[in-house]
């Protein structure tokens, strides 16, 4: 048992930060990214994929992608490799009756069945744009049949997917917190910086508790998945539920700190909130997981009785 990140894991995070600063736009302008800029980011990420990466490493990466509002089919591609479906391409996960992200720019769809995924070439699928709150995570309706069948543990696929989505949300929420903190330290009203008012100090402190604990639970759940702990999937569900509510709470707090300007299109706060919402909807939102966890508690208590 070792509760700290390894030096390699810390260095990987630093390397990816450098990569994102070099190969991607600043978060302020990320929504203006061209298809070429998106493609360039993906190429850079491919190199990063060359190493064997565990869930902890992938979550470290997803958190940074969220903080930078990166637009990339990372979640699907990473999740598929993680559960052992070998590929060197951009892949999007197509769950039944669920919008598919980045469908216009992936090479394959992983169509999830019972105990299987079918890898379908993008050219063989029909895609229709669907509405998305986040321009960096475009959504589509995908119809795809056939493809190359792989047996997989679907629960493990949705668990890693949930953690990657959660990690992106944490990254976005942390960035909102840090922007709000900086704004509060600068903005003056009534002759003081607003960050010197105890009400805002405490609001920001609570936001910190939420975002820090959200990151703790993502890391723990990722390590549990890597170590194949018996309750790893339950832990992933707990994490997804917690992060969904925590990230929104941080986002709401940040909007309150920024005040009116946060409600204008040009301010970047809402772009992070949109990313958070889109990630929250994937692989089950908080309400979904709370229900399922509650049902499982009831079932196991009744079995014990």
């Amino acid at each position: 048992m070792d509760l700290e990140l390894t030096d390699e894991q810390t260095m990987l995070g630093e390397a990816l930060t450098t990569l994102l600063e070099r190969e991607w736009l600043p978060a302020e302008t990320a929504h203006t990214a061209t298809p070429q800029q998106r493609a360039r980011l993906w190429s850079a990420l491919e190199e990063f994929f060359d190493a064997e990466l565990g869930a902890v490493e992938l979550c470290l990466a997803a958190r940074l992608l969220g903080a930078h509002l990166a637009a990339t089919p990372f979640v699907g591609s990473a999740a598929l490799r993680y559960i052992g479906v070998p590929h060197q391409e951009r892949v999007a996960i197509a769950l039944p009756a669920t919008p598919v992200e980045h469908a216009a720019e992936v090479d394959r769809f992983a169509v999830v069945g019972e105990g299987t995924v079918a890898l379908v070439a993008a050219a063989d699928a029909t895609i229709e744009p669907a509405a998305s709150l986040d321009i960096g995570t475009p959504l589509f309706t995908v119809t795809a049949d056939g493809g190359e069948l792989h047996e997989v543990e679907v629960a493990r696929l949705t668990a890693i997917g949930a953690l990657l989505a959660a990690a992106e949300s944490v990254g976005a929420a942390e960035r909102m917190l840090s922007d709000a903190r900086d704004y509060a330290a600068e903005r003056r009203q009534f002759g003081r910086t607003i960050g010197s008012y105890q009400a805002l100090r405490h609001l920001l402190a609570d936001m910190y508790v939420r975002s820090a604990s959200a990151w703790s639970t993502v890391l723990y759940a990722a390590a549990a998945l890597d170590d194949e702990l018996p309750d790893a999937q339950r832990t992933a569900a707990i994490t997804k539920a917690y992060v969904a509510r925590a990230a929104r709470e941080v986002a709401h707090g940040a909007l309150q700190v920024f005040g009116g300007i946060a409600f204008t299109e040009e301010h970047q706060a809402h772009r992070f909130l949109r990313r958070i919402i889109v990630r929250e909807q994937q692989f089950g939102d908080a309400a979904h997981h709370e229900r399922e966890l509650g049902r499982a508690l009831a079932v196991s208590a009744m079995e014990r009785a």
Binding site: M1, D2, L3, E4, L5, T6, Q9, V56, R181, A184, A185, R192, T193, G195, S196, Y197, Q198, L200, R201, H202, L204, A205, D206, Y208, V209, A212, S213, W215, S216, T217, L219, Y220, A221, A223, A224, D227, E228, L229, T235, I238, T239, A241, Y242, H289, E290, R291, L293, G294, R295, L297, A298, A301, M302, R304, A305
Partner: protein, 375 residues
């Protein structure tokens, strides 16, 4: 990061489990009468100490196990998972023991540490005063140096288990000039000394786990000064940070056993097929589990020898939140007819007050983590 137990850790788990399988205290209800309860709890800690399960990471030369800190976590997990009673000398283990290890001289450490671990001598802390709660630095208890001793006078409050304690770590003002917090010293007070008066305070739960402590010209030998005169504030801050950091580990395990109990009680009352009850319990579960994950991450550094940082305040806030949510939900589901949950709910409200109020913890985060402008 690795959560899977190593072979060595697994062996330790097995060791704890076989010990537990033979322990009569496990799973049995504690006596309600305080004196009897105290006797059982002291025996329990002593038995665990003999087995090597208390102070496992404390230095071997002073009676500790000298093992890596993570082993204590492994042990605590197993003990709690089995529903074992808590260690009764909690103030010695979480507060004064660590202070003695860090700031005491070898003589003091040899004298006090082993009997803290074995629960032979119960410790309490004399920090808070009626007028100095959150604002600890404004405390008024005075210690005047005379010949080979200090003469100590004042009053303290929130002295947990004061009525059973053999020793008390007392913060007292020894210097009258200079900044308030630099004039404080830490004295080890023999609770059998003349002039010591302990009065149990009944809590709203009907129990009396705390006392008021009145000190009237109590003679404290000079060798009972911890570190140097004027170091009391530094020791207290170290100690309170330590308490916030480490107390979360056993506390979260206790919350998990409470959660199990809430689920069982709800099942027994036929409430568990109600989806609203299910979701309430799931939300309580999430709070408890996330507390564990967060405590693990933030104490990780500390366990490996680092100082307890300001993140212990985020653990403290999360702990109060998890406890209050769990207690309120169980109370709502099981109602005031259930004595355990009623008491637990009532007392859970204190979780955002004791050990530094919610407001103090938020100030610490705002100052030391977020570096926000001062008020």
């Amino acid at each position: 990061m690795q959560l899977r137990a190593t072979d060595q850790e697994r062996a330790l788990q097995d060791e704890v489990r076989s010990f537990l399988a033979q322990a009569p205290q496990v799973g049995a209800a504690l006596p309600r009468a305080l004196d009897d309860r105290m006797t059982v709890l002291r025996e329990w800690q002593a038995a665990c100490y003999t087995a090597g399960f208390v102070g496992r990471a404390w230095p071997g030369e002073f009676g500790g196990g000298g093992r890596p800190p993570v082993e204590q976590i492994v042990v605590d997990q197993e003990l709690a998972a089995a529903g074992a009673p808590e260690f009764v000398n909690v103030v010695g283990l979480d507060v004064l023991g660590p202070s003695l290890l860090r700031f005491g001289n070898d003589e003091q450490r040899r004298r006090y540490i082993p009997s803290i671990l074995s629960a032979e001598e119960i410790w309490c802390q004399g920090f808070s005063e009626p007028e100095a709660g959150s604002d600890l630095a404004s405390l008024r208890t005075r210690a005047t140096e005379q010949d080979d001793h200090f003469v100590l006078s004042g009053s303290k409050t929130w002295v947990s288990w004061g009525q059973y304690a053999r020793w008390c770590g007392v913060l007292a003002r020894t210097e009258t000039d200079g900044p308030k917090h630099k004039g404080i010293s830490m004295l080890i007070v023999d609770m059998r000394s003349a002039g010591v008066d302990v009065r149990p305070m009944t809590q709203i739960t009907g129990h009396a786990e705390f006392c008021e402590l009145f000190l009237d010209d109590v003679i404290v030998p000079k060798e009972n000064l911890l570190s140097r005169r004027g170091d009391g504030w530094k020791i207290a801050m170290h100690t309170l940070g330590h308490e916030r950091g480490t107390a979360a580990l056993p506390r979260q395990v206790k919350l998990r056993t409470w959660l199990d109990r809430a689920v069982q009680d709800a099942a027994a009352k036929g409430r568990l097929d109600d989806p609203l009850v299910q979701v309430q319990l799931a939300q309580a579960l999430i709070g408890v589990e996330v507390l564990r994950h967060h405590a693990y991450r933030t104490v990780g550094e500390f366990l490996n020898g680092g100082a307890v940082g300001p993140d212990s305040s985020s653990v403290k806030l999360l702990m109060a939140e998890a406890e209050q949510r769990l207690a309120a939900s169980a109370f709502e589901i099981l109602g005031p007819e259930d004595e355990f949950w009623t008491e637990t709910y009532l007392y859970s409200r204190a979780a955002s007050v004791y050990g530094g109020t919610q407001q103090i913890q938020r100030n610490i985060i705002a100052d030391r983590i977020l570096a926000l402008p001062q008020e």
